[in-house]
Symmetry: C2
Subunit: 332 residues, 2 copies
């Protein structure tokens, strides 16, 4: 464990394990952040699925929290509800990202998230996870966990995650962060978040999908032009500013751009998945990473949904998940 | 001439034609705008090159004004200075777009710009232009002139201009207009313009160019992350907010999304050029337009500069211009 400095302040209080289909908890942690130094956090987590099943850490994009799939206990749909069947029969652990509550407005590295997960595994006495399934930012965090705490996971599946951000994707995110700045400077923080999110949606999806969905002619409405995609972009923006503060959005967005991993440091078995239409994490960036990790496996998802394919291409993603999870059972 | 209602209010005062290498003028016009109704404008224009040479109307993107290339009279570089040699030996007419001064904050259609150009040709007694060379928005305006006033031009060259905006490109521009709104709402109109322009630059160029130019790692600066493209995006934004107001930017941006032309309405010889890496005006949108216009010619520019190739791929663009202009000489 390199560069780690974890102090467990108190155990989280569990609900009754024998009854609960899922538990949520908040674990206070002291971490030495890579850029921001020693910091105390409370990490929210959710643990769901049979207690005797193989443990899988599940992590998604920067706006995906601890509720990955629904359960009897927490019945609202999770961010990866579409994969609940593929993930069934496993015990799943997910966290709320450090910084997602917006109370910490300093740089957060994806390696910091990996430290928090490692500390959580220790603190909850969960031992080693059989696998880590991460998509987008979650995949980057998984790489850091595999590099820094290889003993904490058996195998990694990283979907739409590169060794480092593409310079164009970083430029897109930097511009989104300027929208957050502009909103805050003008006393309209929610409008800044909504604008940043709408900008981000353009990079999560593809021109092809937009051409299919938003083909209607623009209309003049009150002297201003409305284009066919506006209601969709409005809804995405409005929804996002209810769940993420400018500080949270800024720091998690930055965190993606801080991601940088050396393939040689990853010492657990790795499966990668790329999406042929992903403009943020191009297939051409994932292929060399797969080549640089001996024994790794690469899946390519064919999709019109770009970076969001992990949330939209249910059948292809399920097939990748099922194959990855099956490989864990046999090596358990 | 369909839907045209031009009243010439007064002749522009020319400088001495026999001496001046170039003249600038301001022509007051009354136009019946397609969406905004009757409106008075003062249209700024520049006329340069030998007075006895074939007249070419030259029009660029929404931020390109009447000064296309330098002359003895107006020696500062024009927006298409890189093509001054290819364009030499011709008399060039360019305008400042209606709405570019920011004093008119209502919808402007590209057809309105075509009306202004037709009125200008009449008012200045220039008669018929041998050709119209338009790139980006200028190409769209050229299509409207060719559809509405086919007698006013001999032939059209439209570079990186489609029959209608791609829905994804419209969505990108709509988001840029929200940045203008957010800046104005927060009392920071310049910051809104700078942000909108920086967003636009991401669509004018390509991921490939960014990967080549902005490969350096991001750095933390005063607690905030700066990515390698930031200085470039800053400079583009700052420069733009000195030359375009929010209202001008909004209305010219909208105007691109209002563009819609029926190929069957274009009744002058047409040459089209598409750029293989153009994300705003995909080659796949220009090809069907070329097919739909009988006798049209299509050039495809190979470039890593995307939509901006008309400003960057000097040799390929010059070859297209020279060929187009030569075809005019022979049919004059």
């Amino acid at each position: 464990m390199t560069g780690r400095d974890v102090t467990l302040i108190q155990q989280a209080s569990f609900e009754d394990r024998s009854v609960a289909a899922a538990v949520r908890g908040e674990l206070p942690l002291s971490l030495r952040l890579r850029h921001a130094g020693p910091t105390r956090f409370i990490v929210g987590y959710e643990l769901t699925g049979p207690t005797n099943a193989p443990l899988i850490i599940v992590a998604g994009g920067i706006s995906a929290g601890r509720h990955s799939i629904s359960s009897k206990t927490f019945s609202e749909p999770g961010w990866w509800e579409s994969q609940s069947e593929a993930l069934s029969g496993h015990r799943l652990l997910s966290i709320d990202w450090l910084g997602a509550d917006g109370e910490f407005d300093r740089p957060i590295d994806p390696a910091d998230q990996a430290e928090a997960i490692a500390a959580l595994l220790d603190a909850l006495g969960l031992g080693r996870a059989a696998g880590f399934v991460g998509a987008s930012y979650g995949g980057m965090v998984g790489m850091h966990l595999a590099a820094r705490n290889p003993d904490s996971l058996g195998s990694l599946l990283a979907i739409s995650a590169p060794a480092r951000a593409h310079p164009f994707a970083s430029a897109c995110r930097s511009i989104q962060r300027r929208a957050l700045d502009l909103g805050e400077a003008g006393g309209e923080p929610d409008a800044g978040v909504a604008l940043a999110r709408a900008m981000a949606m353009l990079t999560y999806r593809t021109p092809r999908e937009f051409a299919e969905r938003f083909d209607a002619s623009p209309v003049l409405d009150g002297g201003r032009l409305r284009v066919a995609a506006d209601p969709y972009l409005d809804a995405q923006g409005q929804r996002h500013c209810r769940r993420m503060s400018p500080a949270a959005y800024r720091r998690l967005s930055e965190s993606i751009d801080l991601h940088r991993i050396d393939a040689a440091d990853i010492r657990v078995p790795v499966t990668l998945a790329a999406v042929d239409s992903d403009a943020l994490v191009p297939e051409s960036d994932v292929r060399p990473l797969a080549k640089a990790i001996p024994g790794s496996r690469l899946h390519v998802v064919r999709s019109r949904f770009g970076h969001d394919a992990f949330l939209k291409e249910d059948a292809q993603v399920a097939a990748i998940l099922i194959r990855f999870l099956a490989s864990l059972e046999t090596t358990r």
